[in-house]
Structures are given as C-alpha cells and as structure tokens.
C-alpha cells in the first residue's frame, strides 16, 4: 500500500475536512477512525471546517492526514512541510521516524535541504529531470569536500598547495589560506606543516553546499547506482 501527498493539494471545495477523510478513506474500503483522530490531534487540525476555508498550512495538514492514515509500506511525500509552522514540522518529522521505525519507506521530495538532512537516510539528487546521485546521507557526507582555513605567521605555501591533487578553489588573502579538499587530508597537511602555521580550521559543508556543488558542476556524473554510492 502507498500513502501519497501531492505537491499541490487537490481542490475539495465545500467539503469539510472530515468528509474528505471519509471520502478518500472510502476509496480503500474504509479508514481507521482512531488513527485519523490521533493524526488530526498531533497535527492540530480541525476536521470540522470546510476545505475552502482552510489556510494553506491546514490544507497541507489534511494532506498529511490522508497520506499517513492508512498503514503503508511506501509513503510518497512531495514538499510535505510547505506551509507548516515549525512546531508541526517537528511533529511531521516524528511521524516520518515512526513510519521508518515501523519498517515503512518514506520517499520525500523537498527543496528544503535542512529537512532532507533532518528526515532522510538516503538522498537522490535530480538535475534537469535526471537522477544524478543516490547515496546514503552519511555516504554523501563522506563523498563531499571539506573547506579548510589556515593562518600563517609568514609566507603561505600557496603554489605547493595548488599543485596538490584534490585541492581546489585555493585563495590567499594576506596570510590567510582557504581551500576545498576532496578525499584525504594527508598530503595537504604535510605541505601546510612546512610553513609557519598558526591556526587551522576545517568544516563540513552542509548538504545544501554539496547540492550546489553538484549543480555548479557542468560535467555532473551520470546516474550512480544506489548500491555503489
């Protein structure tokens, strides 16, 4: 069974929320009233109001109730948190975690990368309608580059750094060096260690930066089989 939340909610006109639930539930032969009640309470949704009077956030909540109200092995959620306030978003993440913990698969499409980091275990990146990357979230973190910042009290070994494989986007301002590193840090640290280094900071880019890096790259790789990513 599949639970589905469309990107744009259907128009249900003058039907009340409870009627929409009964109608969509009826398409599968019925709905568990207790489950609906629990979902509506958790999402703080009044099912007694007419659909056309719902705010966009309430319409989204109703969509979530419709998606989660049946036991599903697969949930397909398109932009699920659009219009939801932060508290309800947290409740949504808990619902996703419960589904995943129960053995279900949640397929979540989102442009909000923090949401993807928060809710997903595996990530697929679409570019121009093609799947350009599929990986577990931690694998994607592993694949991605790190930014490194270093301060020197004397001359910066910039040429030696630029000559290293896997080191990109090298900039130097006064005695401050900044670069991106793909792969291991060993060769870079060896070169940096030759200079009078006073400070060294590295930080992981966010998923958003990884995502942007993919889009900057005009020669993005073709589909990477999920199993190998």
């Amino acid at each position: 069974m599949v639970g589905y939340l469309p990107g744009e909610m259907p128009q249900w006109g003058g039907l009340r929320g409870r009627d929409v639930v009964a109608y969509v539930g009826g398409l599968r032969g019925g709905v568990d009233a207790a489950r609906v009640k629990s979902l509506a309470e958790r999402l703080d949704l009044d099912l007694g109001r007419r659909y056309r009077l719902y705010s966009s956030g309430n319409k989204r909540k109703l969509g979530l109730v419709l998606a989660f109200m049946h036991p599903s092995r697969l949930l397909v959620l398109d932009e699920p948190t659009n219009g939801l306030d932060p508290l309800i978003q947290q409740e949504f993440y808990r619902l996703v975690e419960e589904e995943a913990a129960g053995g279900g698969t949640v397929f979540l499409s989102s442009h909000v990368l923090s949401e993807v980091e928060r809710a997903c275990q595996r990530v697929g990146i679409l570019r121009q309608g093609r799947l350009v990357q599929v990986a577990r979230l931690d694998e994607l973190h592993h694949l991605r580059y790190h930014r490194l910042e270093a301060d020197f009290s004397g001359e910066v070994p910039v040429e030696a750094v630029r000559a290293l494989a896997g080191v990109e986007d090298v900039t130097v301002e006064d005695h401050h060096l900044s670069c991106a590193v793909r792969g291991g840090f060993g060769p870079l640290l060896e070169v940096l260690g030759r200079g009078p280094i006073t400070n060294l900071v590295t930080h992981e880019p966010t998923l958003e930066e990884v995502f942007l890096a993919y889009f900057r790259d005009q020669e993005a790789p073709a589909v990477t089989p999920a199993g190998k990513a």
Binding site: V2, Y4, P6, E8, M9, P10, Q11, W12, G13, G14, L15, R16, G17, R18, D19, V21, A22, Y23, V24, G25, G26, L27, R28, G29, G30, V31, A33, V36, K37, A40, E41, L45, D46, L47, G48, R52, L53, L66, V76
Partner: protein, 563 residues
C-alpha cells in the same frame, strides 16, 4: 528644486501608463476567458433566428397560408405566454422570427451574462488568481471595470452574430429587415445581457462560492422572468413587471413590421446594468477575499478530529452522488416541475395545435392521432432530452475539473485503478439520469390521466430508459475526449449537443440525405412514446456508450494525469 516636479511628473506618468497597461491586459485576459462561451452563444445567436426564418417557409409558403398561420399562431400564443411573449405579426417572417427565434435567445444571453459574472470573480477567487490580479497595481475598481469592459465587448460581438442570423433568417424567408431595425433590436438584447451580468456580479459579492452566487443570481433572474411571464397573462401587473429586465426587453419589437423600439425601456436596461455594476464594485471593495457580504453569525464550534461517519461517502457511485446532492436535487426537481407543467398543459395545447393547419405536421410527426399525446411525446420528451444532455455535460465538466483540480491524481494514488475511475463516472451518470427520468416519468404518469391525456405506461418506461441511454451517450463522448484532452471536453460536447439539436431542423430545409439525421443524438433517441423504439438509434447509442467509455478506460491508462 527643479528636479522634483520632473521626477514627480515622471512617476505619475509611469504609474498611469502601468495602470493603463494593466487594464488593457486585464481586458484582454477577460476576452480570452470568454472565448469559448462567446463562440457558443454567437453560434446559437446566428443559427437560432436563421433556422426560425428558414423554417417559416416550410410552415407557411404562400400569402394565404401565412395569413392563416398568423391567425392560428395568435390563437396559440396565450397557451405559451408563460414561456415566451405573445406573438406579433406571425403572418410575417420577421414577426415569427422575433417570437420564436429571438425571445428564447434572450434567455441564452441572460444565462451567459449570469454565468460569466459569477464565474469570473468567484471562480478566479476560488482558484487563487484574484489575489494575483489584486497584487498588481490594478486595484479592485479597475479590475471590475476591466472585467465589465471585456464582457461587454464579447456580448456585443455575440449580439452582432444574432443580428446577422436574424438578417439571414429573414432573407431565407424571402423577406427583408432594415439595418436600423436590427440595431434597435440588438440594443435591448445587449442591455439585458449586461443586466444579468450585473446581477451575477452583485451575487458574487454576496455569496462566498461560485455555486452560491450562481444559485442566488439564478433565483433572482428566475423570479424576474416569472414576474414577466405572469404579467403577460395578467395585464394588470404591467406596472410591477417593469422591474423585470425581461419585460423591458420584450417591449422592443423593432424588426416586427409595425413594431417599435422602446428607447425608454432600453435605456432603463443600461441604467440598471450600470447601477448593478456600481453596487457590485462598491461591495467588492468592502469585502474580504474568499468572503462575502452575506455572512452567517460566527459561532464557536467544537474542534473535530474524527472522520465523517456518513456511510454514503464510503460507497462507490453514492459517494459522488452525495457530493453532488444539491445539484442533483435541483436537476430532479426541475425535471419533475417541467414534466408536471407541460403534461398539465398538454390537452389544451394539443387541442389548439390540432386546429392550426401550420402545426398539423408537428402532430403528425409525433406518430399519433392524439394531439395531447403528441405534445407529451414531442414537447416534453424533447425537453427532457435536452435536460439529460445538459446534465451529462455538467457531469463531464465535473470530470474535467477532477483532473484539473488534482482530485483524479489523488484517487489513482490510493490506488484506484484508472479503468475503475471511468466506470464509476459512467455509473454515477447512469444513476443520476435514471433518477431524474424515473421521477419525471412518474410525474407524467401521475398527471396525464387527470388531464385526459393517454400515455402508455410501458412506452413511458422505455422512453425514460432511452433518455438515460441518451445521457450515457453524451457522457461517453465526453469521457472519451476527457481521457486524452480534458480541457476541451466540455466545448466539444457543447458543439455535439448544439449540432444534434439543429441537425434535425436544418436537414429537411437543405435536403440533406436521410442518414445525416443519425448524426444527431436527439434524432437517435426518436419518439419512443408514440412510435416505439427507433432501433437503429438504440443500437447506435449503445455503440457510442460502449466505444466511448471503453475507449476512455483504455486511453486514460496511458496518459499523464495532472495539471
């Protein structure tokens, strides 16, 4: 200091230019929104008077026949006064055309005005478009005025087509009418269309939904129409009837020989339209978006977290009928009232028709010696055929909006098999049409004996069944088109209905081959009450239903669903 006025002047000019651009764009958008309705109304506007004029010669070819036809039609007029004005000079082509062609065309234009106004404002509001328009520098007043301008242009264009159809109809009856008379006759037609647009516009500010506005405006116009009709048979009510735009329109008979152009009445129509538009604009400025001026008292209601316990929402077919219950009740009541009204008048109307030589052909074509039964067969059941066709078209419109508004996507995601969606639509249409026709037939069977009209019960049941099949035929064509091209399904079905209506009228006039009549769905239905089942028609309709819905089930499986 010198820079300030320059900058200020530049800013004002720019704002004015933008505003003008916005108005022009909005007018163009409005014209685009009206294009399909315009095409339909303009087509009817041309064909209706043309067909009336062209058929006149068949009814009364010689001067003597025209004189007799005129006298008999004058005698018939009061029987139909509740529906259309009393005839004027029906012994002439323009007189007959005014009476038979233009008076009901007024209703078409009136309905268009109402539907256009409620649709433009409320429909756009429900779809969230109005917020976008208002977010532009345009503003509410200019928006309404631009909408009015667009509709006025479209309506004027349709009136021109009606004028052309009138001229062509008169010419086909070997008579003539002056350009001035045509213009004078067209002015009140445009006027009443704008009045109805104004009524719809005001209703759209009062109600909160498009349907509500359409219902409210429809009730108001129906009351004004009934007032005019009652005044026709009760001359003492003439003074009161002056508030009815239908009455004011009837007062102009410019194309009728010896007729008149009532400038005062026509001016009153335009002033009424202007007042209504001003009122609607003022109301629009005052109300909230998605709200109406008519608001019920807001009361605290308990929060509900449980699904509806209504079992009908869980059952196939019934869940659709439940959602459409108010509309379906309207269709059923309308069908029953129509049946009751016409059957109760069948005896007296039939008696009169039998005595009018020009209408003898009508009685003969019904295939019965009883004129009253002929009225039930050829008038009531023909109207019932139009009713089920209109019902099928509204169902098709509903199916198309299921697709456009995302409900179909939601259904097939549950997952409901796509073929099952089509099958359920077919069954819903079947049940809805069957209920309408069954109750309409029940009223017919109940009233007819009391009026001394013989109606064979078995044949009445068959007629009702065939009307249901007719509804399914329209629905099958709609379903087939929707399966591939949902956006154009309703216009296509409208063309099929109009062509089916006019084909039996035009084919004899132009001596088209007999088989061409079978292209008309209404002809395929036949006259089962008096002549029995038209078997060719029955099998063709069955084939249409099978191919239409079967094809729709196959086609919907392979197409992309979504907006």
């Amino acid at each position: 200091m010198t820079a300030v006025p320059a900058a200020s002047s530049h800013t004002v000019s720019l704002a004015g230019g933008r505003s003008r651009d916005g108005v022009v764009t909005t007018v163009r958008y409005g014209l685009r929104a009206h294009r399909w309705a315009f095409a339909g109304v303009a087509f009817l506007g041309f064909v209706s008077p043309y067909a009336s004029g062209a058929s006149y010669l068949a009814a009364a070819g010689t001067a003597a026949a025209r004189a007799t036809f005129g006298r008999q039609t004058i005698a018939l007029g009061p029987q139909l006064a509740y529906l259309i004005p009393l005839p004027l000079r029906p012994d002439t082509v323009p007189g007959y055309l005014w009476w038979k062609g233009l008076t009901w065309l007024t209703l078409v234009f009136a309905a268009w005005g109402l539907a256009a106004a409620t649709g433009l404002i409320r429909n756009e509001e429900e779809r969230g478009l109005l917020e976008t328009w208002l977010a532009s520098p345009l503003g509410r007043t200019r928006l309404v005025l631009a909408r009015v301008a667009a509709f006025t242009l479209a309506a004027a264009g349709a009136v021109v087509f009606a004028g052309l159809g009138t001229a062509a109809g008169v010419a086909s009856g070997k008579a003539s009418v002056g350009l001035g008379s045509l213009v004078e006759q067209g002015l009140p037609l445009l006027g009443i269309t704008l009045v109805c647009f104004g009524v719809g516009l005001v209703a759209a500010q009062l109600a909160t939904t498009r349907r509500g506005a359409l219902g409210l405006g429809g009730v108001v116009l129906l009351a004004l129409y009934v007032l005019d009709a009652v005044a026709r048979v009760n001359p003492g009510l003439d003074g009161v009837a002056a508030i009815s735009p239908f009455h004011l329109t009837d007062l102009t008979t410019a194309i009728v020989p010896g007729g008149q152009f009532d400038g005062g009445a026509t001016l009153a129509l335009y002033l009424t339209a202007a007042v209504l538009i001003v009122l609607a604009t003022a109301a629009f400025r005052e109300r909230d978006l998605m709200g109406g001026l008519l608001r019920g008292r807001v009361t605290g209601t308990p929060v509900v977290h449980s699904p509806s316990g209504n079992p009908l929402l869980r059952l196939p077919v019934l869940r659709n009928l439940w959602q459409q219950r108010l509309g379906l009740i309207g269709w059923v009541v309308g069908t029953m009232v129509g049946a009751g009204l016409i059957v109760s008048l069948a005896r007296s109307t039939g008696k009169l028709l039998a005595s009018v030589s020009g209408f003898n052909r009508f009685v003969q074509s019904a295939g019965t010696s009883s004129a009253a039964t002929a009225v039930v067969s050829s008038v009531w059941l023909s109207i019932a055929a139009l009713i089920v066709a209109a019902y099928a078209i509204t169902q098709t419109s509903h199916w198309a909006s299921d697709d456009a508004e995302g409900r179909l996507e939601m259904e097939i995601a549950q997952p409901v098999p796509r073929w099952a969606v089509v099958a359920e639509r077919c069954a819903t249409l079947l049940v809805g049409a069957l209920v309408m026709m069954a109750l309409g037939s029940l009223v017919t069977a109940a009233i007819a004996p009391g009026q001394g009209v013989h109606v064979d019960t078995g044949r009445l049941v068959v007629a009702a069944g065939l009307l249901t099949l007719l509804a399914l035929s329209f629905g099958a064509i709609g379903a087939l088109v929707i399966a591939r091209f949902p956006r154009v399904a309703v216009p296509v079905l409208g063309v099929v209905a109009v062509a089916s209506f006019y084909l039996p009228l035009l084919a004899p006039l132009f001596r088209w081959p007999g088989w061409s009549l079978n292209l008309s769905l209404f002809h395929l239905y036949g006259t089962p009450l008096t002549t029995g089942i038209y078997w060719t028609g029955l099998w063709v309709m069955v084939a249409i239903v099978v191919v239409g819905f079967g094809g729709a089930m196959a086609a919907i499986r392979v197409r992309e669903v979504g907006r």
